[in-house]
Amino acid sequence: MKSKQILLYLLIFLSMGAWAQKKITGKVTDFNNSETLPGVNVVIKGNTSIGTVTDIDGSYAITVPNENTTLTFSFLGFSTQDVLVGKQTVVNVALKTKVLGLDEVVVVGYGTVKRANLSTAQTTVTSREIEKTVNTTIEQALQGRTAGVYITQNSGQPGGAISVNIRGVNSINGTNEPLYVIDGVQIAGQSVSSGAQSSSNPLSGLNPSDIEDFQVLQGPSATAMYGSRATNGVILITTKRGKEGITKITYNYQYNLQTPPQHLQVMNLPQYAQMVNQFHAIAGGDTQAEFMDPSLLGPGTNWQSELFKTSAMNKHQVSMSGGKDKTNYYLSGEYLNQDGVAAGSGFKRYSFRLNLDNKPREWVNFGTSLSFNQTKEDLTTSQENLISNALQLTPQVPVKNLDGTWGGGDLTNGANLYAPVNPIAISNLVTNNNSRRQFVGSVNMDLNIMKGLTFKTSFNTNVGYTNATYYVPTYSIGWAKNTIATLSDFNGMNTQWTMNQMLVYNKQIGKHYFDVKVIHESQESKWKNVSAGRTGFLTSSILDLNAGDPKTASNTGGQGEWAMESYLGNVNYSFSDRYIFSGSIRNDGSSNFGPDNRWGLFPAFSAAWRVSKEPFFKFPLMNELKLRFEAGVTGNQGGGGIYSPMGTGASQWGTGFMPSQYSNPALKWEETSTLDGGFNIALLDNRIQLEFDYYQKKTSNLLMSNPLPYYMGTNGTGAVNSPTVNIGALQNNGWGLTLTTTNINTPRFKWESNFNVSGVKTKITKFYSNAAIVDRTSWWMNSWTQRSAVGQAPWLFLGYVEEGLFKSVDEINNSPVPVDNSGNRLPTNVDNIWVGDVKYKDISGPAGVPDGKIDINDQTYIGNPWPKLFGGFTNTFTYKGFELSVLLTFTSGNDIYNYLAMVNSNPNNINLSRNLLIHAMDYAKPTTLADGTTGLENPDTDVPRISYGPNGNQTRFTTKWVEDGSFIRLKNVSLSYNLPSTLLTKQKVLSAAKVIFSAQNVATLTGYKGFDPEVGSYVGRDTNAGNQAQGLDYGRYPLTPIYTFSLLLNF
C-alpha cells in the first residue's frame, strides 16, 4: 500500500515536471548575520521577464517552469547567487556581501565603467562607510577613507569649514579645493572668504545621508574629463535613487552628545595673584590689595568651564524610495540641529531631496534630481575669537557681577583695560548668523537611438541665496565699552547653470569593446551681492536695518559673471577585458581669458593591462593583477584678470576712480601635466586587494597674483593690485596605497579591514624671480608669516631657531646676540640682553654665512605645515546582528605653530591682565649666584625672563613653539545591532530595526600640546584667502568627543 502511494505521488510529480509548472518559496538572508533581506530580486536565469522580489520578511514565491530552472538572486551590495531549483520546493539562500566590486559599475566623469576596467586612479567611498561616522557635512565623511585625499577640519565649529586637498598643493593664490560634481552639477570648492562669515562652509547644505557614494577622481585621465576645472581633483557625488521593488521607508534618528575638550592648564586665581605680585616686584607698579596674600583667594573663574559645555546634536531623517511601472523614486527629508560645545556656535539644517527616474518607452529615459536645503549657522565663537579670549581672561573677573551685569576687567577687580572682553557676555550679546538657501536640481533625458547609440542631454542648476546678519549691541563690560550698536545685513545671490549634450556609442565586436563619447557643454554662473548697515540701534530686540539710524545707513554692492563652453571627445577601448585604453580631449573656452588665449586643450590618455587575464598567468593565489599607466593635462582658469577695473573711492568732488588692478590681456590657462603609474592586485579570491599609485604633477603657467616687490605700489590701501600672471611653476610628487582585506569570513563572524596611506611632496619650482616670495602675513597675530619661495614647499613657517636661554653673562658675551640698526651688538645688561633671555641661532648674514649677529638674516624656515604621510585604517567586525567598526586616522610629519602657547606663556602678558598657562609661572629668574656671577634661580626653565627688552623674547617666532603635529586618532568606533527578525515578525509595521552606538574623536595619540592637533587652515576674524595661515593654532575650535545613539527603522 505504502509503495503504491509512493508510486502514485511519483507519477504525479513526474508528470508535473514534464509539462506543469512548479511553485518555489523561500527566504533570502544575509550570509554574515542571518538577517532577512527584503527587496532582493529573484529571477529565472535566461528569462528575466519572470521574476519577483522578496517581501519584508525576505520571503518570496515564484513559479518556475521546471526542475532545470536556475534562479538568480541579486541585491545591491551582495554577490549575485545562482541556484538550480532541482527537486526543491523551498529554496533558502544566504547572500554574501560583495567582497570586491570588480564587476560593479562605478561612476566616472560623464559616464560609468566596470570597476575592473578602470584604467585610472579613482577611489570610492560608499554610503555604508559614510553612515558609520557622524558627519554634519559631506566632506567629513571622506576623512581617512581614501588615499591621496588630505582632509583637515579647519574648525570644530558646527558646520564649519574643511580643507580638502587631493594630491598636494596645486595653487599659490587660488583655491586648492577640488571640483565637486553632485549628480552632474559642478560646484567648485571655495577658498575661505573674508569678513564676518569667514568661518562658514559653503558645502554644508548637503545632507550626507542622501549620498550613495563618492568617487574621488585623482588620476589625470579621469580628471582631465573636467579639463580646466580639474587640477585640484574631482569628487563625484552620486545621491541615492529609487530601485524597482517594494517601497522602502526608513526613519533615522540620531542623538549626539558632544563633550567639551580637555582643559588647558591655566593659572587659577591664587597662582595668578602670585605672579602679579612677582611681576610688580620686577617691573614696578602697584599690586592691588586683594592680591597681597594669594593664599586667601578662592579659585576664581574657570573660563574654559564657562565657555565649553556638553551639548547636543539631533538629526531626524526620513526617506522613502522604491519603483514601479518604470518609475523609480527617492524622497528624503532631514532636520539637523547641532549646538556647539563652545558658547556662540551652532548649526541647523533642513534639507529635502527628490530623485525621480522614469522610462516611459523602451528608447527613452528621464531623470530628475531636485534638492533644496536651508542652513543657519551661528558664527560668533570663531569670529569673535572667544576661545583664545576664554583662555586669556583672568580668573579674578567673574562671569557676572553681583548686580547681574556682565563681569569685565575694571578698577574694582583690578584687571586692566588690556584684559580680553568676557567671552560669555559676547556670545550672548553678539549676533552673527549666516543663513543659506540652496536649490540644486537637474533634469536629463537619454534617447536610445539604436542599439549602442544613445543621445543624452541634461540641464542642471545651482541657485544659492545667502543672508548674513551681524549685530553688535552697545555694551559696557568693565573697561570694554561699545558705545554704538551696529547691524550689517548681507544678501548674496548666485546662480549657475550647465547644459550638456552627449552622444555615446558602445559596441562589442568579438573581444573588442568600444565606447565613444562626444560631448558639448556650456555653463554660466552669476553672482550679485548687496550688503547694508546702520548703527545707532536703541534696542537689540529688532534686528532690522529699519530700526537703526537712517543717517548712518551704508551699503555696498557687487556682481560678476563667468561662462565656459567645452567640447569633449572620449574613446574607451578594451580587448578581451585584458588591454584597456582610454583617451580623451577636452577643449574649454572660458570668459576669464582674452580672445587669443580663450581656448585650452586638455588631452589625456590611459592604459591598463590586466595581466591576470592572460592565458600564461597561472598564479592560483592571485586572481587579479592590473598594471596602469596614465598621463594627462588638466587646467585651472583662475578668477580672471584680463581687465583693469576702475575701483571707486569717495572724495568731496564726487566719486573718485583709480585702477584697482593691473590688467594682463595675455593671461592664459594654468596647466598641470600629470604622469601616474599604478597597479591593482587581488589575492585569495579578492580577499586581499592592494592598489598603489605613484604620480608626478607638474604645474606650469601657474596663475597667480605676481609677487611684486612693495616698490611697485601693489600692496596696501589704494594700491593698484598686482596683475594676475602665468609665471610660476610647482611640482607635486606623491604616492598612495590602499589595502583592503577580508581577514575572516565565516557565516557568523566577519572581519574586514581597509588601510590607506599616502604621501606627497610639493615644491615650488619657479616664480617671477628666484628671490620672489609670496608671504601670508597675519597682521593681527604679531605679523605671523608663512612663506612660499622657489625650491620650497608652500607656506613654510618663518622664524628664528631658539637655542634655549642664556644662563650666564659669559654665555651672552660668547654668543651672537641681536644688533641695532647699524649692526652693533646690543649691550649685555638688564635693559638689553641679559641672563634669562632667549638665545637665537646665528644662521646667516648679509654675505650668506653666519656673521655673529642676530638679525633678519637669521630667520629661516622653522616648520612645514604639510604632512609627509597621512591615511586611515578601518576595521569592521560583524557577528550575527552586531557590527563593530573602528576607524583610525593619522597624519605624520606636519608641524604646528602653537601660537596660543607662545602668547599664553609670555610672562610679560601678566601685565596686560591676561591669564597664562601654568607653565609661564616658571619664567626665568635671574639672580646672583654664590660665585658672584649672574645666573638663573631656575636654570632648567625654558620660559624667558620678564623683560620688554630688545631681545624680543616672546615676540620673535622661534622653533620652540613649532610642535610636531603628527597624530593617530581613534576617529570613530561604532557598534550597531540589527534587531533579529524573529522579534520583528511579531508585528507588521517594522521590517528592520537597527540601533547604533558610536563614539567619535574618542582618543588622540599626539605629542601636540594644544587642544587638538588637527589644525588645518586658520579660519576666523580677519582671515582671507590671501593671508590664511596653515597649521597655526590660536584657539582653533577643537574637535571633541561625540557620543552617538542612533536608531534606524525600516517600515
Binding site: 614696578g284 583695560l417 537611438i449 539604436m450 543621445f455 565699552k481 558705545t483 554704538i484 549634450q501 552622444l503 556609442y505 556650456s522 548697515g533 546702520r534 548712518t552 551704508s554 551699503n555 554692492g557 556682481q559 560678476g560 563667468w562 561662462a563 563652453e565 572660458s590 570668459s591 580672445p595 580663450r598 581687465y643 577695473p645 576702475m646 571707486t648 573711492g649 569717495a650 572724495s651 568732488w653 573718485g656 576712480f657 583709480m658 585702477p659 584697482s660 593691473y662 616687490p709 612693495y710 616698490y711 611697485m712 605700489g713 600692496n715 596696501g716 589704494g718 593698484v720 617671477y768 624671480s769 628671490a771 620672489a772 616670495i773 640698526n821 652693533n824 635693559d831 638679525d855 633678519i856
Partner: protein, 559 residues
C-alpha cells in the same frame, strides 16, 4: 558592417543637433559688470578729474593711519606711546617695524597710482578732454609723486625712482638711486607741477600753483642741505627757497588764521591758511578715504566714536620743556603755565576744557574736561586732530572713520621757511622781513614778539612747537642731518622720552601744573641716535624679495 553604417547615419543626423547647442561668440565675452574698465574711462574732463581725486586721500591712507605720527613725531621725540610702538619711540625702528613697512608701501602706492594716472590719461583720454584739464591732472599726479619721493628719500635715503610701473612688471633689475639724484628729481618734478597748475583751484581743496611753489620752497630749503659742502648749505638753493616762499606769501592770497586753535577746530578743512591737505571724507561703510588716525590718538572712547585707543600716547618731557613758562627745578620737575596757546591745541593737560568735544562720563554726555589722575604716571594726551564724536562733527564720524583733513602744507611754514632761507648759513639774522615773518607765526600763539636776532635754534624750536603732532618734527631733523648730523644726534640724544605725571594745582580750573618724572621709570628714558640708526632700514620683507635693492645706488640722471 551594417551596424557601422547605422552609426554613420546616426552621427550625421545628430552632429547638427549637437552643434545647435554651440554658443554664440559673445557667450565667452564677459567684461566686469560692477566696474568700468580703464580703456573706457578718462573720456571727459569730469572723468579725468575723477581719476586724480583719490590721489588726495586713499593713496595716503596707510601713511596717515599710524605711520604719520610714528615716524613724524615718535621718532622725533615730540610725543611717545608708553606701551605701544616702542620701536619708534625708542628710535629703534627696525627693518621689521610695522609702520616702517606701512609707510614704505604707502609712498610707493602714491608713486604707482600717480604713474598710472599719467600713463592712462595720456593713453586713453581723447578729444572730449580739454588740454587744460589734461595738463592739470597730470600736474596733480606729478605733485603727489614728488611729495611721496620727498618722504621716501628723507626716511630711507637712497631709493629707486620709478616713473612707469608698467615697464617694470617683469623687470627685476631696478636699482636704488642716490639721495642726491632723488632730490634733483623731486625738485624738477615739482617745478613741472607748478607749471601745470592754475593759480586758483578748479575745485575747493584741489592743489594750485601755490601748493606746488610752497612745496618747492620747502624742498629747496632741504636740498640746500643735501648739497651742502663742508656743512655749508648751498646758497643757490637757499635763495630758491626764499624766492618761492616769498611768492607764496605775497601772491597766493592765503592768510594765517588769527587763532592757532581754530586750525584744528572742526570744520577747519581748506581754510585760508591751507596750501595742501589730504582731503578725507566720511562715509559710514567706505574704507580708505577717511581719516582713521583719531582712533589711535584720542585718549578714550569717552571722547571718540567707539575707538579712542590713544590712552598711553602723550607729549614727551622734552616736548613740554619747549613751551615757554614751565620752570625746571632740578632735572625731574617742571612747574608753571604757558601763554603759548599751541600747547592746549596740541596736547591736553588735566583740567583743560574743550567745549567743542563731547565727553561721555558714566553714561552722561558733557563738554569735555581732560580728567585729573593722581597716579605717578599720567599722560598729556594728544589733542591735535582729535575732534570728538560724530555729534561734534555734524554726524561725520564713526569708529575709525573721521572726516577732518590732514595738513600737508600750510602758510605758517612759508614764513618760517623764508626766515630760515634768509638766515641760511649765518649764526643769526636781524633781517627785518625774516624777523617779521617769524613773529607772524610766533605772536599768533599769544606770545610776545621776538626782539632779539633770530637764530637757527629759535627757528628749530618754533617749528617743533608749531607743527607738533603734524608729522613734521622728524623731517626737520632729517633736513638738519643733511648738513649737520652731529647736531641732529645731539638734539635727539638729550631728549627725555620717559614716563612722567602732570598734576594740576587745583581741579577743576587749574592755574598751573607740576610735571614730575616717574621715579621708578629709569630705563628707556633716553635714546641713542647715531649714523647707524638715523635713517630707516628698508623693510626686511622688501629686501628679501627684491635683492636688487642691495646693489649700490646709482645717480638717476647718470646711470
Amino acid at each position: 558592417m551594417k551596424n557601422l553604417k547605422h552609426l554613420y547615419y546616426g552621427i550625421v543626423i545628430l552632429l547638427p543637433i549637437l552643434l545647435l547647442f554651440g554658443c554664440s561668440k559673445d557667450f565667452l565675452n564677459r567684461p566686469p559688470k560692477d566696474a568700468i574698465v580703464d580703456a573706457g574711462f578718462y573720456k571727459t574732463d569730469a572723468e579725468v578729474l575723477a581719476s586724480t581725486s583719490l590721489l588726495y586721500n586713499k593713496v595716503w591712507f596707510d601713511y596717515n593711519d599710524k605711520a604719520s605720527y610714528n615716524l613724524g613725531d615718535f621718532r622725533a621725540g615730540t610725543a611717545f606711546s608708553a606701551y605701544n610702538d616702542r620701536g619708534n619711540v625708542l628710535f629703534n625702528t627696525t627693518a621689521e617695524n610695522a609702520e616702517n613697512g606701512a609707510s614704505w608701501r604707502a609712498f610707493y602706492i602714491v608713486v604707482g597710482q600717480s604713474n598710472l594716472a599719467i600713463h592712462n590719461i595720456n593713453t586713453y583720454s581723447g578729444s572730449g578732454v580739454s588740454l587744460e584739464i589734461k595738463n592739470h591732472a597730470i600736474a596733480e599726479a606729478r605733485f603727489m609723486r614728488a611729495l611721496a619721493y620727498r618722504f621716501l628719500v628723507m626716511n630711507w635715503g637712497d631709493v629707486p625712482i620709478i616713473e612707469n610701473n608698467l615697464t617694470l612688471l617683469s623687470d627685476t633689475s631696478i636699482q636704488r638711486n642716490t639721495a642726491k639724484s632723488v632730490w634733483k628729481f623731486i625738485t624738477s618734478e615739482m617745478r613741472a607741477a607748478a607749471n601745470g597748475l592754475p593759480e586758483t583751484p578748479v575745485a575747493e581743496g584741489r592743489i594750485t600753483k601755490w601748493s606746488a611753489e610752497g612745496m618747492l620752497a620747502r624742498f629747496y630749503l632741504t636740498r640746500a642741505g643735501v648739497e651742502a659742502v663742508g656743512g655749508i648749505r648751498n646758497q643757490a638753493f637757499l635763495d630758491s627757497a626764499r624766492y618761492y616762499s616769498d611768492r607764496v606769501i605775497k601772491q597766493s592770497g592765503r592768510v594765517l588764521l588769527n587763532d592757532y586753535a581754530k586750525l584744528f577746530l572742526f570744520p577747519y578743512d581748506n581754510n585760508t591758511e591751507s596750501l595742501f591737505e589730504l582731503q578725507w571724507i566720511f562715509l559710514p561703510d567706505v574704507w580708505g578715504t577717511q581719516n582713521s588716525s583719531q582712533a589711535y590718538l584720542a585718549y578714550s572712547a569717552d571722547i571718540s566714536e567707539g575707538d579712542g585707543w590713544g590712552g598711553d600716547k602723550s607729549a614727551t618731557w622734552w616736548m613740554m620743556k619747549q613751551y615757554e613758562g614751565f620752570i625746571a627745578s632740578g632735572d625731574t620737575i617742571l612747574k608753571g603755565r604757558t601763554l603759548d596757546q599751541r600747547l592746549k591745541a596740541t596736547f591736553m593737560l588735566p583740567g583743560a576744557s574743550y567745549p567743542e568735544i563731547t565727553q561721555t562720563l558714566n553714561g552722561v554726555d558733557q563738554k569735555m574736561v581732560f580728567p585729573n589722575n593722581t597716579a605717578d604716571v599720567t599722560f598729556s594726551s594728544i589733542k591735535k586732530y582729535v575732534c570728538g564724536k560724530a555729534k561734534d562733527m555734524g554726524g561725520q564720524a564713526s569708529a575709525q572713520r573721521y572726516s577732518q583733513d590732514t595738513y600737508m602744507l600750510r602758510l605758517a611754514e612759508m614764513y618760517l621757511v623764508y626766515a630760515e632761507a634768509v638766515l641760511g648759513n649765518s649764526a643769526s639774522t636781524t633781517d627785518a622781513t625774516a624777523v617779521a615773518y617769524f613773529n607772524k607765526v610766533h605772536t599768533r600763539s599769544g606770545l610776545a614778539p621776538l626782539l632779539e636776532p633770530l637764530t637757527t635754534d629759535m627757528l628749530f624750536k618754533e617749528r617743533i612747537i608749531e607743527f607738533a603732532m603734524e608729522g613734521m618734527g622728524w623731517y626737520d631733523l632729517v633736513s638738519l642731518h643733511y648738513y649737520n648730523p652731529l647736531k641732529a644726534y645731539s638734539i635727539l640724544n638729550e631728549q627725555d622720552r620717559g614716563l612722567f605725571a602732570v598734576h594740576p594745582d587745583q581741579f577743576p580750573n587749574p592755574t598751573e601744573w607740576t610735571m614730575r618724572k616717574t621715579a621708578w621709570n629709569t630705563i628707556d628714558r633716553k635714546i641713542k641716535a647715531y649714523e647707524g640708526n638715523f635713517l630707516l632700514p628698508i623693510p626686511a620683507a622688501e629686501m628679501s624679495q627684491a635683492p636688487n635693492l642691495r646693489k649700490p645706488a646709482v645717480d638717476y640722471y647718470n646711470k
